[in-house]
Symmetry: C2
């Protein structure tokens, strides 16, 4: 194969109660990486479309580029040369797993291009290296669901233990990205290093309830469990109108609503498409009430992860 084009999905990390351990993928938006083999060795970013010139073009500093480089080093094929064309189809720094989608699309594409030398799950560490370049830490709660699809639990980092959970058929996610910026490093910096045992117990109960709700499945239990007493009360102060937007989502029938990743995007889970669309409109209106425009995305939970599109 000489050329391949791969789409990898956006993701919602944390999912209310599951800070640093839960994430799920959506069908849209997502990023596209097109790889073309070339004769001279090395990974070269030929262009990035849709980033407004903000992302590094140097492969070793680009989340897709570094993931592909590490993959080629691992399989001992640094003799291979590829041109990378990255098309960003979602806002940067939005809390929707933008860097993860690019990294996953890149490493999934190179593995396909070379005839699948590795299993999909084995690609995870290389995509995590992309996260390290983009965010400063090799976290897996975005790349995990983007690569595997579905709802993912990152149980442990050493050793890496990522578990895919089935989700109820027909469950929809609404993502709303307000046109404001939150620096991911700020969003982590304001968190406290200690939590009360009482809050930790409450959170563990909700973590258990959400996993049980997804697997049973039990929508009411999912809804009751989408409560975050540790992170959301702190991070939500960085998102203007957070309380109003969340209440608008719940009033419109969302199972739950919280911050997507480190924000500023917010997400809601819903029982069906009609509810998810109504919830998206209500959330956008609540942002607009204070003059904040936004983009809304409504989609099913993505089940397959990345897909070859050309």
């Amino acid at each position: 194969m000489e050329k391949i084009s791969v789409f990898a999905p956006a993701t919602v990390a944390n999912v209310a109660c599951g800070f640093d351990i839960f994430g799920f993928a959506v069908d849209s938006p997502g990023d596209v990486v097109e790889l073309t083999r070339r004769d001279t060795p090395g990974v070269r970013i030929t262009d990035i479309i849709g980033d407004g010139g903000r992302l590094p073009r140097e492969a070793a500093r680009n989340t897709a580029g570094i993931s592909i480089q590490r993959f080629l080093q691992h399989i001992d094929r640094t003799d291979i040369g590829v041109d990378v064309l990255l098309t960003k189809q979602m806002p940067l720094g939005s809390g929707l797993g933008s860097s993860a989608a690019s990294a996953v699309a890149g490493v999934f594409a190179i593995n396909e291009l070379l005839g699948r030398p590795l299993q999909t799950i084995e690609l995870l560490p290389f995509a995590m290296e992309g996260e390290r370049i983009a965010c400063g830490s090799a976290h897996a709660d975005n790349v995990g669901p983007s690569l595997l699809g579905g709802f993912v639990v990152v149980r442990s980092y050493s050793p890496l233990d990522v578990i895919k959970l089935d989700t109820p058929a027909g469950m929809f996610a609404t993502l709303v990205h307000p046109d404001i910026e939150v620096n991911t490093k700020d969003a982590r910096f304001i968190l406290k290093n200690e939590v009360s045992l009482k809050n930790a117990i409450t959170q563990m109960g909700n973590v258990a309830g959400l996993v049980a709700g997804l697997l049973k499945p039990d929508y009411d239990l999912i809804s009751r469990s989408m409560v975050d007493v540790i992170i959301e009360p702190v991070r939500s102060i960085l998102i203007p109108q957070f309380g109003e937007v969340k209440q608008a989502a719940l009033d419109s029938g969302a199972l739950g609503c919280s911050i997507s990743g480190s924000g500023p995007s917010m997400f809601a889970l819903c029982r069906d498409l009609a509810t998810a669309e109504r919830v998206g409109q209500a959330m956008q209106q609540a942002f607009l009430a204070v003059g904040i425009t936004s983009e809304a995305y409504v989609s099913e939970i993505n089940r397959q992860g990345p897909r070859v599109i050309g």
Copy 2:
């Protein structure tokens, strides 16, 4: 009906990673409550067998007695009179949910005796009142599984939200009660009020993993998830030989091993009966190495909760 006899099972609370939120019931041991209607109103403890005279005979101060009293008040039938004969079939203060089993047996028996005015799940608050008398707090992680059977998540106390999970068919529990005493209040007192965010995240990952492992089911995932980085490192110092006993269980094939409730009993989960018996022997030998005798119980996970035995 004039007379009824009910068995309610012992329980393991916490279950490694799930402090205050997880518990499961076993088929044995357990307590038996025999109720006999009498003409004069009020709840009377006629005798308690097997407690060595240590439990209060006054109904309002006895965990079974108070549960029955609160039930009768709730259904507005304080005109009813019952004699209560309580037979303890497990050690007191052992961490095996002794007070919970008595409370559950009592309230389940009175509900049956009166023709089931309430659903089983509705009996939970009355059994919790028994726990309040016995332990100082109306916790549900023993009475929940003793009443409902199986593996139970206490997701929330306000409102009370108790979720029953299916467990893999054929999973066995080994309980070992060393002949030493740990005061439950001491066991709670030595816990810190704060936990690090890092440890809370690790624990949440294991909570999610254990629930997923039980529901999938996936024994390896159950095993990897039975890790407690918050409570066990503190409480285990109250149990002589804890590390050796745990290692003996794991070396003998247990999926995991930790403290049962607040101790001093320890439990292990196992894939089958033969392993559970081998694990029990290994744990007892490890206690015996420092001269501590013990009782071991091996049983399947109880699935039905209390049962009428006469």
